[in-house]
Symmetry: C2
Subunit: 425 residues, 2 copies
């Protein structure tokens, strides 16, 4: 399409606009905006509602009554399970409540109010900066925006974020206190950090002693093709090897394994960090929901149980990803107006369109009854400098809806691209 | 005992010491330190484990799938239930996760990082002060200590805190930002705030616009004698009437109704405060555990269900309170060396001993195998200026253990009192 003459583009545009008007008339109501599991995915976890009944003894292996107060950092059995999921040792884990997002907010909030391991509380500093690989997760950026941190965009390629830039920035600038990372099946690109990226990340030499990598391993077991699932290097081990044992905070949860909102979330880090966090956590809570921790342990049993469960998720969502990817290829392939990632896991596809068209495409889709994640959401302050990134979340709609949705989306991409190309000819 | 001569006291002391040595030899292991329900109390909530099974549809009345993301402020049914428990309207309620302590920490932490309704963040102020009615709850004081607030002790009598002092202080000093209150069956005294105290609290004229009353109604339905349970005035209504609609934050939870750690906690306040909190909360979380909210609603059904349930709790713990109170009366009554509160609800009895003896009594008890809450814990910074306050938590041990524990306690009170009186003769 990029090679068409202005006249050819105008004819194509007329056809797209006619088709778009037809689509609009259908009055569809489709949603590809959020990374939510579909109801059929939730159904596979319903057995969890039966593993604990009034006839069960709600105690851990040590005999502690899990119905009562106590156990700040999670029951041993849940620590073991989350440690296996996160590829760390149980002594490095704190099991929390239902949401890893809350753990991340808390970690930043505590650093802001009290510092990290005795460092100056960030609220007492003139400026705090934060590195944000883009495209990234809107809820991450919302936290660092909330605390008024200056966010610095870091470009990503298929191996992860631009390490040259990160190494340079953190070494020079003491006000840079952290970085958001989704290292595996990144939100929204699906990128998996290469071994080299993980090693270089672990070997950073930040000017700030209280610099922390926020390693949100949200999709650690979320493969679309379990038999050839991606593995990343263990960041905790790599940090240790590189002489930076305390530089990383790792986060994960069962939100997209069991039930979003009713899962179990966990934090993992060095022993020093775990002690530092627990000392503060004991002021915040007496403990998290241990019965729900036990429920998860009883249902999944171990990592193999989790893997078998995740294979069922994969069976449900893989056709959805494939449907969208096929439609993208069929409708947009070879036209020079868009490229997209082909994730092997996670919850998203990232679509890159012609510069200056993403907002228009999302807006066109909305008017045609298809809700997408707002353009810009993939970047700090919701400002995508090139206005060319669209996050596609294919998991929630059913396959038939998704087919229509993908069709509407590609049509809107073509329409907006034709307009943009005509403008620039 | 206070009227005994030095010689009489010395003879008495010898007897107490002999008895104490005998007790020590028994090698007991008793615990009256924490306000935990006993296992028999937890048993009455076990039905909760059966109300949701894999055959149930986990949706709210509107049809929202509660297994998925969403609903920041709690499902409507849980709001209704918590509103009834807290004696407020559902629109004034946010239902959280498992712990009201976490809500309180969060509320203070957010005021510290971002202010309240646009006020200067407290971290930017030179000084923040906080009013602490004493004796009070150690975990409250730990939060305000954590944030470095200067805590000001406020004496309490049988009607609640000293309102003359509070009125004067808050009117004069803009750095006073809040007050901890447990208005009903106060921890640890069991005091219930009188109508006059509630009205004067609601009518405060604080110099600080962002002054908030932290109204921890932890024991709102926790009567020992349900048929004549205490009621307090509705602080939210009273604040509204007094022209201070936004001055109070109310907290409650089902921790001592269902399961501590696996319950449901809630916040209630004016519409303005609820909006202000929700705006911030949406950065912290996507939502709390809605399945557990539904579980509570299904089990309790409504306020009448909660009341019937609380009557069962009362039947279990009333004999424990009565046993301790009888022992106190029998062993210490009329001796002039101790007085104690006679709570009609809540989880604690407050014992006031001779000045300068509380630490010694707790230490004597410990050596005899009875763990009490550390002396001083009832006051900010764990400093009880008169060293005369001991918190008794009678709910966790069984009645037989409690009988022994109360005996050891009263013996240690007599022993320490005799020593103290001899010293001062």
């Amino acid at each position: 399409m990029v090679n068409m003459s202005k006249e050819e583009l105008q004819i194509a545009l007329q056809n797209f606009e006619k088709e778009y008007e037809d689509v609009k008339k259908k009055g569809m109501a489709l949603d590809m905006s959020r990374g939510k599991p579909g109801a059929d995915q939730l159904d596979i976890s319903m057995g969890m509602m039966d593993v604990l009944t009034s006839k069960d003894v709600l105690k851990d292996a040590k005999g502690t009554d899990l119905r009562n107060y106590g156990i700040l950092d999670g029951i041993a059995e849940a620590k073991n399970l989350m440690a296996d999921i996160m590829d760390v040792k149980p002594e490095n884990v704190i099991v929390y409540g239902n949401a890893s997002l809350t753990i991340m907010y808390d970690a930043i909030s505590r650093a802001y109010t009290h510092g990290i391991m005795g460092s100056t509380p960030w609220c007492k500093l003139d400026k705090v900066k934060w590195l944000c690989p883009v495209p990234g997760y809107d809820r991450h950026f919302a936290i660092t925006e909330r605390f008024g941190f200056e966010m610095i965009n870091i470009e990503m390629d298929e191996n992860g974020p631009d390490m040259d830039m990160i190494e340079k920035l953190v070494a020079e600038d003491e006000s840079i206190k952290g970085i958001w990372c989704v290292p595996k099946y990144s939100n929204p690109s699906g990128i998996v950090y290469s071994d080299e990226v993980v090693k270089r990340m672990a070997a950073l030499k930040p000017a700030a002693k209280d610099f922390r990598i926020f390693w949100d391993n949200a999709y650690c077991v979320h493969h679309l093709y379990p038999e050839k699932g991606a593995e990343i290097l263990n960041i905790l081990d790599e940090c240790e090897k590189a002489g930076n044992p305390d530089m990383v905070y790792i986060f994960a949860s069962t939100s997209k394994i069991s039930f979003p909102g009713s899962g179990v979330a966990a934090f993992a880090s060095s022993k020093n960090n775990v002690e530092d966090v627990k000392k503060q956590l004991t002021i915040q809570t007496i403990g998290y929901d241990k019965i729900n921790q036990l429920r998860h342990v009883k249902f999944f049993k171990d990592l193999d149980g989790v893997k078998a469960h995740m294979a069922k998720h994969a069976d449900i969502i893989r056709p959805k990803f494939e449907m969208v990817l096929e439609t993208l290829e069929k409708e947009l392939g070879g036209k020079g107006i868009a490229k997209w990632t082909k994730p092997a896991g996670g919850y998203f596809i990232s679509l890159t369109t012609l510069d200056g068209t993403a907002k228009e495409i999302v807006s066109l889709c909305k008017d045609a009854g298809l809700v997408l994640t707002p353009a810009g959401s993939t970047h700090p302050l919701k400002q995508d400098p090139k206005d060319n990134t669209i996050r596609i979340a294919p998991t929630y709609p059913d396959v038939e809806e998704l087919k229509e949705a993908a069709h509407v989306l590609t049509l809107c991409v073509k329409l907006a691209s034709a307009r943009k190309l005509i403008e620039t000819k």
